[in-house]
Amino acid sequence: MPVLEVRNLSVRFATVSGGTVSAVNDISLSVERGEVLGIVGESGSGKSQTWLGVMGLLARNGRAEGSARFDGRELLGLSHGALNELRGARMGMIFQDPMTALNPFLSVGRQMTEVLQRHRGMDRRAAERECIAALEMVHITDAPRRLAMHPHEFSGGMRQRVMIAMTMLTRPDLLICDEPTTFLDVTVQRQILALLDELRQRFNTAIVFITHDLGVIAEIADRVIVMYGGRVMEQADVHTLFADYRHPYTEGLLRSVPRPDVTSHGKLATIAGNPPDLAHLPAGCPFAPRCVYREPRCETQMPELLDVGPAHWRACHHVGALGKLETAA
């Protein structure tokens, strides 16, 4: 059984003007134990809201509909108390900016021990011993002294290590990482990725890794989901996605990654046009206005997510070969 099974999940926000923003539209996916599932897409494609919806962390004006089963248990509609038994214990989430994600007003030790006090019923002293071990596990030296320090006394990379140590205290089955390395420089980013991989192997924790950096995806993910306009555009294992992508949007994303083997005269291709207005989504394919393969039916008919190979799905009407972007460049 997958650790998490999402069926027909939608996330909508009520706007002040009385409208609705459809950030996530009818998504289905699953996360297997111990795997790294990469989630890519441009800014605003619904990557974060999908997982905040699963965790019950949406903003006040947001609602999640559909189904999200964690280890067989439905999460949506669960009471606060029941949800809090799972959050922080069996599923954890770490965020983009470790400076603001850690409470600047509380010591790192306080923020870590409260997790064990809450979920393991430990007293403060026992919890502190565990936290020191956890900090050492993420390769933070001088751990006992660090417990008394506040987040601003750590560097960015160290703070993210603290976040990881804190989230891994309870050995969760699922760890959702929302762009955890975006604000870090490349060497620190690599260290964090290596650390996550090490922890996954050690504890068999499933990791959902959200990023808009395909380079990071190539490095860490087993499987990849490409999102656009709050929908899944393509889903495949990481090798297939890079070698045999079948969706025009995936192609666009791949083309906009700088590649050392292609001299593009220093220019980086980006996908022309803007992401869709989530308050007024088109009836057909959300990518249609920007797609070079667009056909008439694309604008009226939403393409279904269908398999195009073993464990390989895409949502697109286009039948012929891709590669237009390559030749156009």
Partner: protein
């Protein structure tokens, strides 16, 4: 705490130039205003006026009067009142200030003790009647000026219902302080509640609150342990302006209720060019404002671990 003590000492030293500027500016501005303490409607005989001016050293060059005044202040002596002849400014302040304490302290405390919880409840019950109702009342409290609110309260609670005295003062009788303190405090409570609501809502939307929730902490812990302290910071910054507000408000409230506080002296003194009296009250107000700003800064540093006292 060594650092905190040193910081406080340094800030107190830093307040000296501030106070000096306040004193110097008000001293010379006051003298530059037309008229003088002994120019009344019925002119005094020249010899009498000359004698009076000599008695109060007004015949000396201005710079010498200024230096003398500074010297006196250093000894805590605000000099004799020019208008209430036989009484010193120290005595006048000694009589009037307790009245202001009796209405100002409850007003400020009320603002904090009622405004803060009201603001928190509004923030937690955002967009429910527990939010709309207090905030609507607060809006009214802020926008109705004291000179409208106070007479209405007097009319209803004193004149019509006879629950409280309509004005005046009787030392030691708290009944006389109630209406003035409420008139002074209501806008402050309203203001505090709005500040608190805004900061609590902002904090509750911050990423570290999301982290706290992601950790499965119960909502009570999220608010008390993670949100309360950062949400209090704007309240601390509110303290300085609140004291200024209480002072200016007290001048109006004293006038309306006919209270013998120092705001009264301040206004009368300014009318009559009672130089020493106006200066004395100005220095006292200045000291209070400087002091509370210092208290606010120290509190801020205690609440926020990122602030270093150096």
């Amino acid at each position: 705490m060594g650092a905190l003590a040193r910081y406080t000492a340094r800030r107190l030293l830093g307040a000296i130039p501030t106070m000096l500027v306040i004193i110097t500016l008000s001293f010379f501005l006051l003298r530059a205003a037309p008229g003088g303490p002994f120019e009344m409607q019925r002119a005094l005989p020249p010899q009498v006026k000359l004698n009076l001016e000599r008695m109060y050293h007004l015949n000396l060059p201005l710079w010498q009067q200024y230096l003398d005044y500074l010297g006196n202040i250093l000894h805590g002596n605000f000099g004799p009142s020019f208008v209430y002849r036989s009484i010193t400014v120290n005595q006048l302040i000694g009589q009037g200030f307790p009245v202001d304490i009796a209405i100002g302290v409850p007003a400020l405390l009320g603002a904090l003790l009622l405004g803060i919880p009201l603001g928190i409840v509004s923030a937690l019950k955002q967009n429910s009647w527990l939010d709309y109702f207090p905030m609507a009342v607060a809006m009214v409290g802020i926008s109705i000026p004291t000179f409208v609110l106070a007479p209405v309260m007097i009319l209803v609670l004193a004149v019509m219902l006879h629950w409280l005295p309509a004005g005046g003062w009787s030392a030691g009788d708290p009944l006389y302080a109630i209406l003035p303190a409420v008139a002074l405090g209501l806008p402050l409570i309203a203001y505090a509640a709005r500040v608190m609501r805004g900061s609590m809502i902002e904090v509750l939307n911050s990423p570290y609150i999301r982290t706290a929730r992601a950790k499965g902490l119960p909502e009570r812990t999220v608010i008390l342990r993670h949100a309360l302290r950062p949400a209090m910071l704007p309240m601390v910054s509110f303290l300085g302006p609140a004291v200024v507000n209480t002072i200016t408000g007290s001048i109006v409230v004293e006038e309306i209720f006919g209270l013998p506080g120092i705001g009264r002296f301040f206004v009368d003194g300014a009318m009559n060019r009672d130089y020493t009296l106006v200066m004395g009250v100005t220095v006292l107000y200045g000291l209070l404002i400087v002091l509370f700003n210092l208290v606010a800064d120290v509190l801020y540093g205690i609440l926020d671990p990122r602030v270093r006292f150096q």
